[in-house]
Subunit: 360 residues, 2 copies
DNA sequence: GGCAGTATTGCATTCGTATGCAATTTGGCG
DNA sequence: CGCCAAATTGCATACGAATGCAATACTGCC
C-alpha cells in the first residue's frame, strides 16, 4: 500500500544522492524520517505539530528516527501549505538614531518568544521605502511593524494583501492601520511648561529631518504650547537627529537670533547633546546656568554624567510589547478593527535644564 | 490541451474564493496570471526570472495581466523549489553595545543591495544561542553571519546542513568557518605603546563580560604588550561593556589599587566614557591631565566633545562589506575554502589621553 | 519556397509539508 | 466477549513556482 510511494521516493532520493557526490547527502525530509521509522509521512508531520493526534509509541519512533537523521521540519514548505510564514517584517530607518536599536532588539525578542521570526528592513532614510513593500509581499510576511512612513499607495498595496500593519511612533490618517506611539505632544508640553515655570522666556527649537513624523509632532507640540503660554520669542532651526547637526544647529540658532536664548528644545537627545557641547565649547556657556537644553527619547548617552539631559523617556518596553501583541493579535484575528495606543513619556529632570524643584 | 489544467485550477480557485467570502479574493498566483494572459504557468514563471527565455510579446502580455491582478511571485514557493531561500541569518548579541547597531544596519543594506533578505536574531547575551540554530535551520537560511559564539556542537550542526557561516569579530578553532575581524591585539598594542611612550607607567585595565571573545582579545592584547614593555603595575577589573559598569569599574580599580593609575584601558568606548565620568565626578580628576583613559570601537558618543575618547575605530564599512561578500561567495560556490580576514583598526588620538604628538 | 537552426512555449513533474477523509486500531464497559 | 465511540494512522492531494524535455514557432539563407 505504501510501498509504491516509498519506492518512488527512494529511487528519486537515491538518484539525487548519487549526483551530489561531493557534498554528501541532502537534508532529511519527512519522507526520509517516515521511511526509517516505518510510518507514513503524515505521521511524521503530525508528530512535529502541537495539536495533532499521535500516540506515544508513534511519537517515540518518529523522534528517534528524526534525531538519527538530523531532521528538521522545513519552515518554508510549511509556510507554503499553511499560508503562514511566521515571519513579520520590521521596517526601521537609520538605526544610528541611537533610539531605534533598543526598539529593534526588544521587538525581535518579543517576537522570538512567540515563535515568530523577524525579517529586517533597514532604510537609509525614512523615505526609502521603494522596494521594501515589494520584498515584504514576496516573502509573504504575516505582518509588518514599521517605524518609517509608507505612501498611501504603498499602504493600499499592503492592505490589499491583507497584511496587518502596526505603525511605531507614527500614525496615519488611514483608519485601517493600528499604531503604537509615545505621546510626543504631551511630552513636549511638559518640557515647555516646566521651562516656562522656571522663568525661561526666549526659546530655540531644533527640529529633526523634515520627513520624520516624530520630529514634526515634537516641534508642533512644543510650538503650540509655547504659543499657548504667550511666548513669542521663538527661533526654529532644523537638523537631522545627528550629533553634528546638533552642534551646527546651536550655532545657527545663536547667529540667527543675534543672542543666546534662555532655553533650547531639541527634537531628540542626540541633538540636545550636540547643542550642549556647542554651547560649552563654541560659546563658552554654562549649562544649565546660562542656558537650559532639553531633548527627547531618554537614550543611553542622555544619562552620561557630562550631559545628564533633561528629557522625556519613551517607555520602550511597554511600547514594543504592545506593538508585538497588537500585531500578532491582528494576524490571528484579521476581523478585529485596528487600534491606536498612545503611551505617555516619562519625564526625566536632568541637570541640563534649570527647572523648579518638584512641588515647588 | 491546457484546458484540463485550467479547468482544474479554476474550479479549485472558485471554490476557495466562495469560501473566503468575507476577506475577498486570495492573492493571485502564477496560474491566475497565466489564465488571464492566456498562456501557461511556465510562461509566467519565466517572465519573472532573469535569464529565462521569453519573447517581448509574451513579456508584455504577462506583465499586463500580472499588474491587473497585483501578482507577485511567492518567494516562499520559489524557495521551496529552488532550494534557495535568499535569506541569511544575522545573529547579534545585545545591541545596546552601541557598536552593533551600525554593523547591523550596514549588513542589512549590503544584503539588500544584492537582493538577499536578513532574518534577525538578537540575543540577550552572547551565550543565548539555544534555539537560534534550530530556527535558522528550519527556515533554511542560505548563510549565517554571527557576532555571537556558537558551541562546537552547534557549529557542527550548522556545518552538517552545509550552511556557510561567517564569524564577525570572532574566530573559531574550527577551520571550516570564515571570519572577518578587526585586529584587536594590534589596536591594543598601539594604545599601549602610545601611552607608554608618553610616560604612563601604572595601568588599570577594564575588561568586558567574560563570555565575550572580543573583550578577551582586547584584554590579552593590552596585557601582553604591557608585559612586553616591562610594565608590571597593572590592575584588572571587569564590567559588562555598559556605561554604569564603566563607572563602577573605575571606582573599583582605584579602591583595589589604593591609588589612581596613570592610565586606564577600557575594553570599549562606552566603558571608557563611564570611567571618564567617574574619574571626574567621583574622584575629582582631570582627564587627561591627571589620568589618561582610552577605549575601543570608535562609536558615535566617543566623539562627543565632553569625552573625545582616544580609541581605535573599527573599519565597519569595510568589515561589513567583506562579511557580506564572503558569505554570498561561499553560498554561490560552496566548494571554496574558508577565509579569514583581519582589518586593522584606525587609531584616533582623542583628548582623553595624554599622548605625544605624532612624530614626536 | 524550403530547410536547418534557434528561440519560445507548454507539459508534466518536483520541492517538503499539512490536512480532509476514510480506514483502522484502541479503549471502555457492560 | 462484543460492540460502540474515540483516537490514531494512512492515503491522496494541495500549496505556488521552477525546470527538463518535447513540441512548436520563428529566423535567416539559399
Amino acid at each position: 500500500m505504501k510501498a509504491g510511494n516509498m519506492a518512488r521516493r527512494m529511487s528519486k532520493t537515491r538518484k539525487t544522492k548519487d549526483k551530489g557526490s561531493k557534498s554528501g547527502k541532502k537534508r532529511a525530509t519527512s519522507y526520509d524520517v517516515a521511511e526509517l521509522a516505518g510510518v507514513s509521512q503524515s505521521a511524521v508531520s503530525r508528530v512535529f505539530q502541537d495539536g495533532a493526534s499521535a500516540s506515544k509509541a508513534m511519537r517515540e519512533r518518529v523522534m528517534a528516527a528524526a534525531d538519527k537523521l538530523g531532521y528538521r521540519p522545513n519552515a518554508i514548505a510549511r509556510g507554503l501549505i499553511t499560508q503562514r510564514s511566521n515571519m513579520v517584517a520590521v521596517v526601521i530607518s537609520k538605526l544610528t538614531n541611537l533610539y531605534y536599536p533598543e526598539v529593534l532588539v526588544q521587538l525581535t525578542q518579543r517576537f522570538s518568544e512567540r515563535n515568530v521570526r523577524v525579517l529586517l528592513f533597514a532604510l537609509e532614510r525614512e523615505g526609502d521605502t521603494g522596494s521594501v513593500v515589494e520584498q515584504m509581499l514576496q516573502y509573504r510576511v504575516d505582518g509588518v511593524i514599521t517605524a518609517a512612513m509608507f505612501s498611501p499607495e504603498q499602504l493600499r498595496t499592503i492592505e490589499s494583501a491583507h497584511i496587518p500593519v502596526v505603525f511605531y511612533n507614527r500614525t496615519s490618517r488611514e483608519p485601517l492601520v493600528s499604531s503604537v506611539r509615545c505621546d510626543q505632544e504631551a511630552g513636549e508640553r511638559w518640557l515647555v511648561d516646566e521651562l516656562v515655570r522656571a522663568g525661561h522666556r526666549s526659546f530655540g527649537v531644533v527640529e529633526g529631518p523634515e520627513d520624520s513624523v516624530v520630529s514634526i509632532e515634537r516641534k508642533m507640540g512644543a510650538l503650540n504650547e509655547l504659543t499657548q503660554l504667550g511666548i513669542t520669542d521663538v527661533t526654529t532651526v532644523s537638523g537631522d537627529f545627528g550629533y553634528e547637526t546638533g552642534r551646527a544647529c546651536f550655532s545657527e540658532l545663536v547667529e540667527k537670533r543675534g543672542n543666546v536664548p534662555d532655553a533650547v528644545i531639541a527634537a531628540n537627545d542626540v541633538m540636545a547633546i550636540g547643542c550642549i557641547d556647542e554651547a560649552r565649547e563654541g560659546h563658552g556657556l554654562h549649562v544649565p546656568d546660562d542656558i537650559s537644553i532639553v531633548g527627547f527619547d531618554g537614550v543611553g548617552p542622555a544619562r552620561y554624567a557630562a550631559y545628564d539631559v533633561t528629557t522625556v523617556r519613551q517607555p520602550v518596553q511597554r511600547m514594543t510589547e504592545s506593538a508585538a501583541s497588537m500585531l500578532l493579535e491582528r494576524i490571528e484575528r484579521p476581523e478585529l478593527s485596528p487600534e491606536k495606543r498612545a503611551f505617555s513619556g516619562i519625564p526625566i529632570r536632568g541637570g541640563s535644564a534649570r527647572l523648579l524643584k518638584t512641588g515647588e
